[in-house]
Structure formats: C-alpha cells, structure tokens
C-alpha cells in the first residue's frame, strides 16, 4: 500500500474494491418500528388515491355540511322570537339578527369580532399530477380558522370554526 500506482485504471479498480468492502451502517430497530407502525396506521401520509379529494369523500367532504349546520344553528339561536306568542323575554334578550358568518361578513348586528386565528395543521406532499401541458407537485395543506364574536350587550360569545383543505400545484421545472 505504500507504492504509488502507475496505472490509473488499476487504481480506480482498487478504489472500487475498497469501496465495495464497506458495508452500510445498520438501520436502527427504532426506525424499523416507526416505519411499520406508519404502514399499519396510515393516518398522516400521502393518501392512496392521489389528486384532489372529491367532494363527499373524507373529512373534506363534510366541510360544506358543517358550515351549513353552523349557520343554521346560529340562525336558530340568534334570530328574534316571533312577535305573536312565544317568550317575549327571550326575544328581548336576543334582538339582533343572525350575523352572516358564512360569508365572513359580520352583518348589521351588534356582534363584534373578538379574535380570528388560523392555524396550519398539516402540510404534506401529495404526489405528482400530470396535465397535458405541464407536471405539478401537489402540496396539500389543512388549516383550521377560528373566529370568535361577542354580543357586547349580553356577553354572548359565538365561535365559528372553518376547516379548510387546499391543494397547491407547484410546476415541476425540468433540470
């Protein structure tokens, strides 16, 4: 091993032999466990079906329904009582019309926004999407937006939650 090699090809072959003699370090048992736990409980990673989740499938499909239910509930709780009959006291306590929250608009009532918080809960690579003209990487994000409103007259607080899921298409530029 002390003599310099006069034949470049020989020294490359010798180097290849030296490299082949090295054995990659072992993977840890912890890594194996983590991987196979992830396969057994596929919660977070890329879903089997790529592309945009169709409406009506998965939790995203519930978003329109949840939003509609929230608006309906607010309408029932906050709308004024009928003038004829019913509990007059209740009507007096809740005089404001339901705020139009679904559109992100406070409406004409006395409801005041207290807080608005948007939290990104998940960012994941969602595979490749190939269109006729281009190829894109799909990045799926899930966020939860919470808006809180208060009626200053009686202190009633309403919190509205908007779950969102977005697919971002990032063009793949060939190297």
């Amino acid at each position: 091993m002390s003599q310099s090699n006069e034949h470049p090809e020989d020294s490359l072959l010798q180097l290849e032999e030296e490299l082949r003699a090295l054995v990659p370090a072992e993977t840890s048992a912890g890594l194996r466990d983590r991987i196979f736990d992830a396969l057994a409980n596929p919660a977070e990673e890329t879903p089997a079906e790529p592309a945009i989740t169709p409406a009506g499938r998965g939790w995203f499909g519930w978003v329109p329904l949840a939003a509609a239910a929230a608006v309906a509930l607010l309408a029932v709780v906050l709308s004024p009582a009928p003038k004829n009959g019913g509990d007059v006291a209740t009507a007096a306590e809740v005089p404001a019309p339901a705020p139009s929250l679904a559109g992100g608009d406070m409406g004409p009532s006395s409801w005041k926004p207290v807080s608005s918080d948007s939290r990104l809960e998940h960012v994941g690579y969602d595979g490749i999407r190939t269109e006729e003209s281009a190829t894109y990487r799909q990045i799926r994000t899930r966020s939860m937006e919470r808006r809180t409103f208060i009626d200053p007259r009686d202190g009633t607080v309403v919190e509205v939650v908007f779950p969102r899921e977005n697919i971002h298409l990032v063009p793949v530029v060939p190297e």
Partner: protein, 191 residues
C-alpha cells in the same frame, strides 16, 4: 384474499424486504440529507408513499408487490428534495450538525475496529464529492443498481450516469490520495 389478511402478509413481506435493503436505502438517504434524523424521516416517508401507492380499492396491499429499486430510490430522492425545501429555515443549524458529524468522525459504514480509520476517511471523502457524483456512486457501489436503473432513478441518461460514476471515482481518488496520513496514498496516480 381479504384485505386485512392481504395487508398482514404484505407487512411481513415488506419487513423482509426492508431487512435486506434498509441499510443501503438509509445510506442513500444520508447522502441527500443533512443529518441522520432527517435521513430516517426521508426513508420512512418514501416507504410509506410506496406503500400507499400500492393500496388497492379495499385498502389491501399485494404482498408480492414490494418496491422496485428505481422506484424506491426515486421516492427517497423526492422526499429529500421536499424536506430540503421545507427546511430551508433550518439550514444553518443543520449545517452545524453535518460539521459536527464530520468533526466527530461519524461514518456511514459498519466496520471492524481495525478498519475504522479507513472507513472514516472514505466517509469524509464522500462528503466532499459533488452531490450529483456522490449519489451515482452510492447507487452503483452500495445499492448495486445498473447504470440504466440509476438513470431512471435520477432522471438522467445511462451514459450520463456512467460518466458521473467515473468522475466520482476519479475525484475520490484525488481526495483520498492527497492526505499526508491517508491510508490510500497508493491510489495516487503518477503522471
């Protein structure tokens, strides 16, 4: 076969496959990441993606359908690129990690005590190679892929893969031959 039985069999088959291939997959992931922890995350992510891509309509996975080499290495590479993009803010901190690994002589290979110095020297030299050369070298030597498979994995031609391999070996020979205390001085070429 019902989906759960099918999936259990697939789990066993994939565990065997991982037992045989995990070391070299992790070595490849380590070439493309800044720390051992990142490499493990990337490998896990790639395997889960392959698994999910194989799920049938019932959620089962065919036990016979383990990842082929070009596919899994491509997945690892993509996962590493994605991680790199996400983690740019951590880059400075991670650079310190790789410096720390190098300074501590952490190498990427298992070796008997008497070969430790050689192994550490090669690990250090590999870190100095350009990324494009190092990934071809790793896939050729330790993953034992053909140049065609390497080309498919990296999205380059077979000839480019072969050239990069040659350049990588030559660069490695230069790096290893330079050190005064090198175990590989004999590889230095007399011109």
């Amino acid at each position: 076969m019902n989906p759960s039985t099918e999936t259990s069999s697939a789990h066993l088959a994939w565990q065997t496959w991982f037992q045989e291939n995990g070391n070299k997959l992790l070595l490849f992931a380590r070439q493309m990441t800044r720390s051992a922890a990142d490499a493990e995350d990337v490998l896990q992510n790639a395997i889960v993606r392959c698994w999910n891509a194989r799920k049938n309509r019932n959620g089962g996975v065919d036990p016979e359908n383990a990842p082929d080499p070009a596919e899994i290495y491509t997945m690892i590479r993509r996962a590493a690129i994605d991680l790199g993009r996400r983690e740019t803010r951590r880059a400075r901190r991670e650079e310190k990690v790789i410096d720390f690994e190098e300074a501590k002589g952490i190498d990427w290979f298992q070796c008997p005590f008497e070969a430790k110095e050689k192994s550490t020297e090669i690990s250090g030299a590999l870190r100095k190679l350009p990324d494009a050369q190092r990934e071809v070298l790793t896939l050729k030597i330790w993953s034992q892929l053909t140049f065609q498979e390497i080309g498919e994995t990296l999205g380059i031609s077979e000839n480019t893969a072969a050239s990069r391999y040659r350049y990588a070996l030559e660069a490695l020979r230069r790096i290893l031959g330079k050190g005064k205390e090198s175990h590989f001085k004999n590889l230095a070429v007399v011109l």
